[in-house]
C-alpha cells in the first residue's frame, strides 16, 4: 500500500468538495450525471429519427419551431436526419456507454470494492472528468455551427468525412466531431490508466486478485482494452483532421471528382481509415459490454443467495475476450474491398470470441440452478441483461461470418444486433447497477413497484424494437436511409417501421418512470439499511455516508472471496469479505 492513509476527513469548501473534487466518488457521480444527461439527449435524437422512419416526409409543424432549419416547413431534411443519426450513434456508443461504465461505475466502485482510499492518481481522475465534460460540450456544439452536425455516421468513413465538400455538416461540424473524439480519448486514457493502476496497486490487505469481485475483473479487462485501442483512435482522428485542414492525404486517394470539381488530394487510401477506426471500434463494444457483464454477474451473485458459478472461469473468459478483441475488427469490412482472403481469418477469429461469451452465459445460467432467487428490481434487470445478451449475441453469428454478412451488411439486421448487444444489454446492466447501488450512494431505497414497471416495459420494448429490426434486415431494409419507401422491395416492410416507432416511443416514455423514481427516491425514499441486499463485497462495509478516504482509521482486511453465500453451518446466509475469520470458525465448532 503506497497510498497515504490520512484517515481524516479533508476540510474543503463546497467547490473543492463537490465540483473540482478529487474524491473518486464525486468524480464517479459527475460522470454518471453527465453521461445520463447525454443519454437523454441521444435518446431524444433517436425519437426524432423514428418519426421520420415511421412516417417518411410527413409534416410535423410543431417541430419546425424547435428546428427551424433541420425541419423547415415541418418536414425533416435528409441532412438533418443523417446529422441526428451520426450524433445519436456517437453520443450513445462513446459519450454515454463508455463513460457510464468505466467512468461512472468504475470510478465509484473500484476503490470501494478493493478497499482503497481513492484512485491511485486522484488529480488525474478529476482531470479525466473535466476533459470528458469538455468533449461533450464540443460535440453538442456541432449542431450549432454552419452546416450543422456531421452526416458521415459515427464511423466517419473517409472520404465522406475527409472532404468538406462532400455534404452539409461535413465542414465545421465534422471538425468539432473530431476534436470531441480526440478530447474524449484523452479523458478516457487518464481514466483507465488510473483504474488499472488502482486495481493492481491499491488493493487492501488480503484482497488478492483471486478475491476481487467480478465487477473488478470486468473493469480491469475493459480498462486494458481501452488502453490498447483508444490511442489508435486518437491517432486516426489526428490524421483525419490533418487531411481536412492540413492538406495531407492519409485517407483520400487521387482523382476524386465531386460536383465536377477535382479534389486536390492524392496518395491516400480510404480503407486505412476503416482499419484504424474498427481497430478501436470493435474492441469498443467490449469496453462497454465487459464491465456490463461484471456488474450483472455481481448482482446475480448477490440475489441467487448461493455462490456464483465459475468465478475463475468468468475472469479467464474476460481475459480471453481482451486478447481476441484485438483481432476481430475486420468483420466490419467483409464487403469493404479488403482482400477477401482476410475474410476467412476475421470470420474465424470472430467465431472464436463467441466461445468465451458462450461460457460466460453458461456461468450465469448455471448459477441459477439450485439457487433461491430474490426477484428484486436490480435482479430483474440483471436477468434481462442475460436474456438480451444471449439473443443479441446469437445474431452476431450471422454478421461475424463473412458468408452470411454479404447480404446482411448495412441492413437493419446489423442495427438490431448491435443495439441488443451493445446498447440494450449494457443499459439493462446499468439500470441493474443503479437500482442496486442506489442505497449505498444515497442512503435511500428506490421504489420497487415503479422499478418493476420500468423493467417490464423496458424488456418488452427492447425486444419489440430490435428483434423486429432483425427481421426487417433479412428483408433487406437499408440502414442509414432517410426514406426507405423509395425502394419497392422495402415497401412491404414499412408497417414494421411504424410498429418499431411506436415501440420506441413506449420504451422512451417508460424511462420517465425511472427518472421519476430516481429523483423522488433521492429525496423521499425510505431510509436504507447499511447493507440492504445482504451482500458480501467491501463497498457495503464502508461507513454511511462514505467519507473522503472511504474508510476510518484503517482500511478493511479481507479474509475470503466475495461469494460466500449459504456457507454450510453458517448462521446468516452471507459472509462479508471483511468479516473476521474467527466468526466462521466459531460457527463451525
Amino acid at each position: 500500500m503506497y497510498l497515504v492513509e490520512t484517515g481524516s476527513e479533508h476540510k474543503a469548501g463546497f467547490i473543492r468538495k463537490y465540483v473540482f473534487s478529487t474524491d473518486h466518488k464525486i468524480v464517479g457521480l459527475q460522470y454518471f450525471f453527465t453521461a445520463f444527461a447525454m443519454a437523454i439527449f441521444g435518446g431524444l435524437l433517436s425519437i426524432l429519427m423514428r418519426l421520420q422512419l415511421g412516417w417518411p416526409s410527413r409534416m410535423w409543424p410543431m417541430l419546425e419551431t424547435i428546428f427551424p432549419v433541420g425541419m423547415a416547413g415541418g418536414v425533416m431534411s435528409p441532412e438533418f436526419y443523417l446529422a441526428l443519426q451520426t450524433m445519436h450513434g456517437t453520443i450513445m456508443a462513446i459519450f454515454v456507454l463508455t463513460a457510464l461504465f468505466t467512468g461512472a461505475f468504475g470510478n465509484y466502485l473500484i476503490p470501494l470494492q478493493i478497499g482503497a482510499r481513492d484512485m491511485a492518481f486522484p488529480l488525474l481522475n478529476m482531470l479525466s472528468y473535466w476533459v470528458y465534460l469538455l468533449s461533450c460540450i464540443v460535440l453538442v456544439l456541432a449542431f450549432f455551427v454552419e452546416g450543422g452536425a456531421p452526416i458521415s455516421g459515427w464511423t466517419a468513413y473517409a472520404p465522406l468525412s475527409a472532404i468538406p465538400e462532400s455534404g452539409p455538416g461535413q465542414a465545421m461540424g465534422q471538425n468539432l466531431w473530431l476534436v470531441a473524439i480526440a478530447l474524449f480519448t484523452v479523458s478516457s486514457m487518464m481514466g483507465v490508466l488510473n483504474y488499472i493502476t488502482t486495481i493492481v496497486q491499491a488493493r487492501t490487505k488480503g484482497m488478492t486478485m483471486s478475491r476481487v469481485p467480478l465487477n473488478i475483473w470486468g473493469m480491469l479487462s475493459a480498462s486494458i482494452i481501452s488502453i490498447m485501442v483508444f490511442p489508435v483512435l486518437l491517432g486516426a482522428g489526428v490524421l483525419l483532421l490533418a487531411d481536412r485542414i492540413g492538406g495531407t492525404s492519409f485517407f483520400v486517394p487521387a482523382g476524386l471528382v465531386m460536383g465536377d470539381k477535382l479534389i486536390p488530394h492524392s496518395g491516400g487510401h480510404p480503407l486505412l481509415w476503416q482499419h484504424l477506426f474498427w481497430f478501436f471500434g470493435h474492441p469498443e463494444v467490449y469496453i462497454v459490454i465487459v464491465p456490463a457483464m461484471g456488474i450483472a454477474a455481481e448482482i446475480i451473485a448477490t440475489f441467487i443467495r448461493k455462490p456464483v458459478f465459475g468465478y475463475r472461469i468468468m475472469a479467464g473468459c474476460w481475459i480471453a475476450v481482451v486478447a481476441l478483441s484485438m483481432v476481430v475488427w475486420g468483420h466490419h469490412m467483409f464487403v469493404s474491398g479488403m482482400n477477401p482472403f482476410l475474410g476467412g481469418f476475421f470470420a474465424l477469429a470472430t467465431l472464436l470470441i463467441t466461445v468465451p461469451s458462450a461460457i460466460l452465459v453458461l456461468c450465469w445460467v448455471v448459477s441459477l440452478y439450485g439457487a433461491r432467487i430474490q426477484f428484486t428490481t436490480p435482479m430483474l434487470f440483471a436477468l434481462g441483461f442475460v436474456s438480451i445478451f444471449v439473443t443479441g449475441g446469437l445474431g452476431g453469428f450471422f454478421l461475424g461470418s463473412a458468408w452470411t454478412d454479404i447480404q446482411l451488411h448495412d441492413t437493419y439486421f446489423v442495427v438490431g444486433h448491435f443495439h441488443l448487444t451493445m446498447a440494450m444489454s449494457p443499459l439493462f446492466a446499468a439500470f441493474a447497477g443503479v437500482y442496486y447501488w442506489f442505497p449505498r450512494i444515497s442512503g435511500r431505497m428506490m421504489n420497487e413497484r415503479l422499478g418493476r414497471v420500468h423493467f417490464w416495459i423496458s424488456i418488452a420494448g427492447a425486444y419489440a424494437i430490435f428483434l423486429t429490426m432483425h427481421v426487417m434486415g433479412v428483408g433487406g431494409m437499408l440502414r442509414h436511409s432517410y426514406d426507405t419507401t423509395q425502394y419497392d422491395f422495402l415497401k412491404h416492410l414499412q408497417p414494421l417501421n411504424v410498429f418499431v416507432s411506436f415501440a420506441a416511443f413506449a420504451l422512451a416514455a417508460s424511462q420517465l418512470i425511472f427518472i421519476l423514481n430516481f429523483l423522488v427516491s433521492l429525496f423521499r425514499g425510505p431510509r436504507a439499511e447499511a447493507n440492504p441486499w445482504k451482500a458480501n463485497t467491501l463497498e457495503w462495509a464502508a461507513p454511511a455516508p462514505i467519507p473522503h478516504g472511504n474508510w476510518g482509521a484503517v482500511t478493511p482486511e479481507v479474509h475470503r472471496w466475495p461469494y460466500d453465500y449459504m456457507v454450510p453451518d453458517g448462521g446468516e446466509d452471507f459472509l462479508p469479505q471483511n468479516a473476521p475469520a474467527a466468526v466462521l470458525e466459531n460457527k463451525r465448532f
Binding site: 435528409p78 443523417l82 452526416i151 458521415s152 455516421g153 462532400s166 455534404g167 483520400v252 486517394p253 487521387a254 476524386l256 471528382v257 465531386m258 441467487i304 448461493k306 455462490p307 458459478f309 465459475g310 475463475r312 469493404s336 474491398g337 477477401p340 475474410g343 476467412g344 470470420a347 467465431l351 458462450a358 441459477l368 440452478y369 439450485g370 439457487a371 433461491r372 432467487i373 426477484f375 430483474l380 436477468l383 436474456s387 439473443t391 446469437l394 453469428f397 461470418s401 458468408w403 454479404i406 447480404q407 448495412d410 441492413t411 424488456i459 418488452a460 425486444y463 428483434l467 433479412v474 428483408g475 433487406g476 437499408l478 442509414h480 432517410y482 426514406d483 422491395f489 414494421l496 449459504m566
Partner: protein, 276 residues
C-alpha cells in the same frame, strides 16, 4: 455437487419472467419459421448457397436460443426464494465447463468450414470465359453503367473530361470508345450469362447492393474491385446503395433488368447506342 432439487420455490415473479421468455421464444420461432417477412426473391446462382448457409446458421443459433432461454426460464420459475430455506453451496463443475467449451468449438468449426466453401465460391473462383463485363461507377448520387459495346473493348476515360453530360469522362475520340454505351441508373444483364462487374467510385464510398442477387460490394474511390455472379432469373430488380454516401444516399437507386435472352439484351444495347 449440488442438490438442485432441494431449495427454491415456484414464485409469482419467477413465473411471470419465465412466461415472458416463453412468449419471446414463441414469437421468435413464429417469425423465423412462418417467415411473414423474408428474403427478397432469389435471382442468382450463388445466392442459393448464401441462403443455404444462412439457413444452417439459423438452425444452430435457433436451437441455442431456445435451449438457453428455456433453461433460463425454467430455473427462474423453479428456484425463486420463499421463506428462509437455504440454497445449496456449490460453485464449480469442470465437466460442464469442458463440455460446453468443446461443444461450442466443434459446432463453430463446422460452421466455419461450411461457410468458407461459400465464401470461396463467391470470391476465389475464376470468371467464366463467356462473362459479360460491365464497368460500374458510383457517384453522389447515381450509378453509371459502362458497356464496351460490340468491339468488347472499353474506351479510355479521362478525369478532365468529366462533365454533367459525360459523367465518367469517356474519351469519345478513342476508337475503342466509339461503340461504348453509358447508361445511368439502368443496368441490363442476361439471364444465365455470368456478369463481371468492375466497381469504382468517383467521390466517396458507395456500396453496390443487388438484394435479389445476394450481391453486395463496396465501391471504393481509388480502388478497382472486380466481382462476378450469374443472374439466373429474368426480371426487373432494384439496385441500392448500401453505404452511407451523403445526403442523397437514400435515393441513390438504380434498376437492373435481367433479360431473358442475349437477343433482348442486344436490342436494348442498340437502342442505347443510338442515344449516346
Amino acid at each position: 455437487m449440488a442438490d438442485g432439487t432441494g431449495p427454491g420455490r415456484v414464485t409469482p415473479s419467477g413465473v411471470a419472467l419465465a412466461a415472458l421468455l416463453f412468449i419471446l421464444i414463441a414469437a421468435s420461432l413464429w417469425l423465423f419459421i412462418a417467415k411473414p417477412y423474408w428474403w427478397t426473391p432469389l435471382a442468382s446462382q450463388h445466392g442459393a448457397d448464401v441462403d443455404f448457409i444462412f439457413t444452417s446458421v439459423l438452425w444452430v443459433t435457433g436451437i441455442a436460443f431456445v435451449v438457453v432461454h428455456a433453461l433460463l426460464g425454467y430455473f427462474i420459475a423453479r428456484y425463486g426464494a420463499k421463506g428462509n430455506e437455504r440454497a445449496s453451496y456449490w460453485h464449480d463443475n469442470p465437466k460442464a465447463e469442458a463440455i460446453l467449451l468443446i461443444g461450442t468449438a466443434v459446432i463453430l468449426t463446422v460452421l466455419v468450414f461450411m461457410g468458407q466453401r461459400v465464401w470461396a465460391s463467391v470470391y476465389f473462383s475464376d470468371v467464366p470465359a463467356n462473362a459479360m463485363t460491365v464497368q460500374v461507377t458510383g457517384e453522389q448520387f447515381a450509378w453509371n453503367f459502362h458497356y464496351a459495346g460490340p468491339d468488347g473493348a472499353f474506351g479510355r476515360q479521362r478525369i478532365d473530361l468529366i462533365s454533367p453530360t459525360n459523367t465518367i469522362g469517356l474519351d469519345r475520340t478513342d476508337p475503342a470508345a466509339m461503340d461504348d454505351v453509358l447508361s445511368i441508373n439502368q443496368m441490363h444483364l442476361v439471364a444465365d450469362r455470368p456478369a463481371r462487374i468492375r466497381l469504382r467510385s468517383k467521390d466517396v464510398i458507395h456500396s453496390f447492393f443487388l438484394p435479389n442477387l445476394r450481391v453486395k460490394q463496396d465501391a471504393v474511390p481509388g480502388m478497382g474491385i472486380e466481382i462476378w455472379f450469374v443472374p439466373n432469373l429474368a426480371g426487373n430488380y432494384e439496385i441500392a446503395c448500401a453505404e452511407l454516401c451523403g445526403l442523397g444516399h437514400y435515393r441513390m437507386k438504380a434498376f437492373l433488368t435481367v433479360d431473358a435472352s442475349q437477343d433482348a439484351f442486344d436490342t436494348w444495347l442498340r437502342e442505347q447506342t443510338a442515344l449516346q
